[in-house]
Every structure is written in structure tokens, then in C-alpha cells.
């Protein structure tokens, strides 16, 4: 009874242990970054010789960091929405379609992921120069959608493939229109895939640095570009401070979401 947690017996401890170790593994660098952000040494030495808040002061004194974070978030959200929508449509075609060459099309959708980003970046940059899209929000979004789309497609097709289309057909037989059936039966059925696709698309855009360096302009800077140039030139714990703030913000949001969910279920 492998899918019942309480009936696993000894295996339960093995699985729990693996989860615990992996969680620690995932947390270790994050905790390290948090600790470094309060260290008094400019260099990433642990344990730090003293503790200080000066990196946070420096961070708040520079509005460019906040601006870059907001820009990244804005672009990320737009990319997320477009990728999931286009990805969903493409996945429907790939999984449910009956045209020939589906395998080829699937491979085609993967190619932006296979080609090294620097090639895509230079190619797009050169093309956008002629279209006047460099340093613009639409250009940035298009560039990131191109590299995020394969992720959306892979995750959504994965979810669609394990979703029995007979359920959708049954809904239609019960009187729903095809689109109603899709919206109210299939979409909820693949919501894990949609959720993963959304998260991946957002995070691909959020963390993407190579394309961002090419697409950026002095007025349009994303967070990874700022981190990249700062890390190359001046390794200071200010970056640790920025990361820690974001981590803190995320933790707060997660706690808020959990509290809200609990409130709803009571």
C-alpha cells in the first residue's frame, strides 16, 4: 500500500528521512546567505567577525535595487500568464491532437531550451535592434516567454497525459459544451501541471540573467542583471541582504496564505 502514508511501515521513516535531509540541503545556502547578510566583514567569510545592519542600510539607500526587483516581478508575472496560456493551448494540441508530426512539433517546442541562452540572446538582440524592441518591456517579455514556454509545455503535457480524457468526454455527454468541459473538468484536473507551469515560467523569468543583460537598458533593469554586475565587480553582502529580504517577504506571504487557508477551512 505504497500510496498510503500510514500503511508504509518502516519505509515511512526512510521517506521522511530523505525528505528531511533534502530540506536541510535546500535550506543550507539560504540560511547561510541570511547569516552573511548580517556579517560585518565585506568578504564572504563564515563565521563573520562581527554583526551589523549596514548592508541593509546600503540596500535601502539605493533605490535601484528596489526598482530592479519591481521590474523583475512585473516582467515575471506577464511572462507567467502568457507562457501558461500559450503552453496550455500548445499542450492540448500535442496531447489531444490528431495531426501528423506531433513528435516533431514537440521537439520544435523544446529547441529554445536546448540552444544555449547566449545564442538566443545575441540572435534576439540583433533582431530586436532592427525592430526597435531592445530595452522595451514588450521585447523583454517576448524574450523571456521564448525561453519559458518549453517549461510550461513540458509540465502541462505531463499533466495532460495522465489525465483521462474520458472524463472530459463524459462531461460533454452529460450536456456540457466542449469549452465548458475543458474549463470546468480538464483544467481543474490538471491544476498541478498548470501551477507548476506558472511557477516555473515566473521563476525562469525572475532568475534569468543572460537574456536580461542583452534586453536591459539603463531604465529597464532586472534584479539578476543588478546582482550579476554587482557580484562581478564588488562582492559585498549587500546581495545577501537583498536575497534575505526577498526570502523574508516570501516567508511572510506563505505564512499569510497558510493562515488564510486555515481560516477558510474552519
Amino acid at each position: 500500500m505504497l500510496l498510503d502514508f500510514h500503511k508504509l511501515g518502516a519505509w515511512r521513516w526512510v521517506l521522511t528521512a530523505i525528505c528531511a535531509v533534502m530540506s536541510l540541503f535546500l535550506l543550507l545556502p539560504i540560511l547561510f546567505i541570511v547569516a552573511l547578510s548580517f556579517g560585518s566583514s565585506r568578504w564572504l567569510i563564515f563565521p563573520p567577525p562581527g554583526w551589523t545592519l549596514k548592508w541593509y542600510e546600503e540596500l535601502f539607500a539605493d533605490p535601484r535595487w528596489i526598482g530592479a526587483a519591481l521590474t523583475s516581478a512585473k516582467i515575471g508575472v506577464i511572462v507567467m500568464v502568457i507562457s501558461v496560456v500559450l503552453g496550455l493551448l500548445a499542450s492540448l494540441a500535442l496531447v489531444r491532437g490528431t495531426f501528423r508530426g506531433r513528435a516533431v512539433l514537440r521537439a520544435f517546442f523544446l529547441t529554445p531550451m536546448v540552444l544555449p541562452v547566449v545564442i538566443v540572446a545575441v540572435a534576439l538582440y540583433a533582431a530586436f535592434l532592427r525592430l526597435g524592441l531592445n530595452g522595451t518591456l514588450p521585447g523583454f517579455v517576448i524574450a523571456h516567454v521564448i525561453v519559458a514556454l518549453p517549461f510550461a509545455i513540458i509540465t502541462i503535457t505531463g499533466a495532460l497525459e495522465t489525465f483521462d480524457p474520458a472524463i472530459e468526454d463524459a462531461a460533454i455527454l452529460c450536456g456540457a459544451s466542449p469549452w465548458e468541459a475543458r474549463l470546468r473538468v480538464t483544467l481543474p484536473g490538471i491544476r498541478h501541471g498548470l501551477f507548476s507551469a506558472a511557477i516555473f515560467s515566473f521563476l525562469i523569468s525572475w532568475d534569468e540573467v543572460v537574456l536580461a543583460i542583452f534586453m536591459a537598458s539603463p531604465t529597464l533593469q532586472t534584479l539578476p542583471v543588478k546582482v550579476w554586475t554587482t557580484l562581478r565587480q564588488d562582492l559585498t553582502p549587500v546581495i545577501a541582504a537583498a536575497s534575505t529580504l526577498l526570502v523574508a517577504l516570501t516567508v511572510l506571504l506563505m505564512i499569510a496564505a497558510a493562515v488564510l487557508r486555515k481560516g477558510k477551512s474552519e
Binding site: 500500500m1 498510503d4 535550506l27 500559450l86 500548445a90 545564442i119 495522465t162 489525465f163 550579476w228
Partner: protein, 277 residues
């Protein structure tokens, strides 16, 4: 399949928006760049000849696929039990682990990689801790080699594998596993002959994603690995950005694309995805 009642066409139309976007803003610009691989510096296949004939490129090529393979394998081995556990664990614990996974994805990639660099150094925290508990006398070489690259990349790739796989496992009907138990299967038999095959589409798509991502990565490998483990993407970046030799860079990228698509075709041949039900 679309049922007979709803089928209006082959379904290709749904994919058109994505196809058009990629065609306009990906295919055309990239093709322009890649044609330079046969026109720069002169018309002809010299760039390709140089690549194929060079032992350095062969080594880098081989190393790239090796690293991608190792990272994918390690990621799958860790991600499967974790995804399985998350799919069936009691809600509260599962939420905490899930939150940790999301948190690690959300932290800036460069910050995470630098943190690993400092943690894994010979004078870093991990070596010092291992020394303190007496496991080692001399500090272990954990960065500037394949170990460092693997740790760093697995760290980044794990969430990409765990999240979709968790969703797939959640959708498996527990009744099937119950039936296996009733039929007398041991836990191990149920695992290898029922659960894993049922989760296989999720494993395959996750592994594909991680493998392909690893092929194209160069930020993390260049910071955590030595130059002896150089990945192809870094080499291409050198050509394109440092030496501004777009012909050579494009040729290397095109070869990578060909080999990867070739592997994908092989995978399709032997692990054909199910043709709908």
C-alpha cells in the same frame, strides 16, 4: 483523443499561437545567426571542420553531456522519493517541505551559487564541520571539480523535478496499489512494477527538462567547476562574447542542437509516449 462529438479539426490550431510566436521571434533570428556559422569568416564548413577535428571541443562536448547525465540521474534518484513522500504525507509536513522547495527556487540563482562556492571551499563551512567531527583530516576538494558542479546543479534542478512529479504521483489511483498489495505483491515489487511505471511519464518529462536545462547551463558550472569541466555553453559564450566569433559560436551551438535532437529522437523511438487512451 478529442471525442468524435467534439472533434472539429486535427487540433493543430491550438498550437498556432505558440508556433507563430516562436517562428517570428526565435526561429528567424536564430537561423540568421546560425547561417553565419557557414558564412563567417568565409563561406564554407571550416568552422564545423575545426570543431569536429578539435580534441578540446570533443572533450567539452563529452563533458557537457556527462555532467548533464550525472546531474539528471542524481536529481531523479533524490526527487522520486521526495515527490512520492510529498504526494502522500500529512498536509502540514508536506506544506512545510513544499514551502522550502519554493523558497529555494525563489532565492536568486547567483546568490545561491555563490553561497555554495563559499560553503564548499576548502576553508568553507562544510569542510570545517567535517573536520570538527573528525570525519576527515585534510579538507576535501569540493569545488572546482565535478563534485561541486553536481552539488550546485542538483540543488537548482531538484525543484524542477519534484514539483511536476509530485503532481503526477498524486493523480495515481491508490486503489491500484491496494490491489497490488491484495494480490500479494511485496512493497518492493509494488514499487518497481506498479508505482514507478505509473509515474514514468512524470519521471520522463522531468528528467528531460533537467537534462536539457543542464546542457545549456554555464553560470553555475563555471563558478563551481574548474575549467577542466568546462561546459559547451561556456565555450560558446567565450566565442560569442569574448572573441566575437559568431561563426564558431553558432557552429558549436548548432552541433549541440543536432546531437540533442538526435538523442531526443532515440528516446522517442524506444520510450514512445502513449498515444492517448
Amino acid at each position: 483523443m478529442f471525442s468524435a462529438a467534439t472533434r472539429r479539426g486535427s487540433g493543430l490550431g491550438f498550437a498556432m499561437p505558440a508556433i507563430l510566436l516562436l517562428a517570428a521571434f526565435f526561429v528567424i533570428p536564430v537561423v540568421f545567426l546560425l547561417t553565419r556559422s557557414v558564412t563567417e569568416p568565409q563561406l564554407g564548413l571550416q568552422n564545423y571542420a575545426a570543431l569536429v577535428g578539435s580534441t578540446t571541443y570533443a572533450k567539452v562536448f563529452f563533458n557537457t553531456f556527462l555532467v548533464a547525465g550525472v546531474v539528471t540521474l542524481v536529481t531523479v534518484l533524490i526527487a522520486f522519493p521526495v515527490a512520492w513522500a510529498l504526494a502522500i504525507m500529512p498536509g502540514r509536513w508536506a506544506s512545510v517541505v513544499f514551502a522550502i522547495i519554493l523558497l529555494s527556487m525563489w532565492t536568486n540563482l547567483l546568490a545561491r551559487t555563490y553561497a555554495w562556492m563559499v560553503l564548499l571551499q576548502q576553508t568553507g563551512l562544510i569542510n570545517r564541520m567535517l573536520k570538527a567531527i573528525g570525519l576527515i583530516d585534510q579538507p576535501l576538494q569540493l569545488t572546482n571539480n565535478l563534485i561541486g558542479v553536481t552539488i550546485g546543479m542538483v540543488y537548482i534542478m531538484l525543484p524542477f523535478m519534484i514539483l511536476p512529479l509530485m503532481g503526477v504521483i498524486k493523480k495515481i489511483d491508490p486503489a491500484i496499489l491496494q490491489a497490488a498489495a491484495l494480490c500479494g505483491a511485496t512493497k518492493w515489487q509494488a514499487l518497481t512494477r506498479v508505482l514507478v511505471p505509473l509515474a514514468a511519464p512524470g519521471i520522463a518529462s522531468g528528467a528531460l527538462m533537467v537534462f536539457v536545462m543542464s546542457l545549456g547551463y554555464y553560470v553555475t558550472p563555471s563558478l563551481l567547476g574548474g575549467t577542466a569541466n568546462m561546459m559547451l555553453a561556456e565555450l560558446i559564450a567565450q566565442q560569442v562574447q569574448s572573441l566575437v566569433n559568431w561563426g564558431m559560436g553558432g557552429a558549436a551551438a548548432f552541433l549541440l542542437l543536432l546531437v540533442t535532437l538526435g538523442l531526443y529522437a532515440v528516446q522517442l523511438r524506444f520510450f514512445e509516449p502513449k498515444e492517448g487512451r
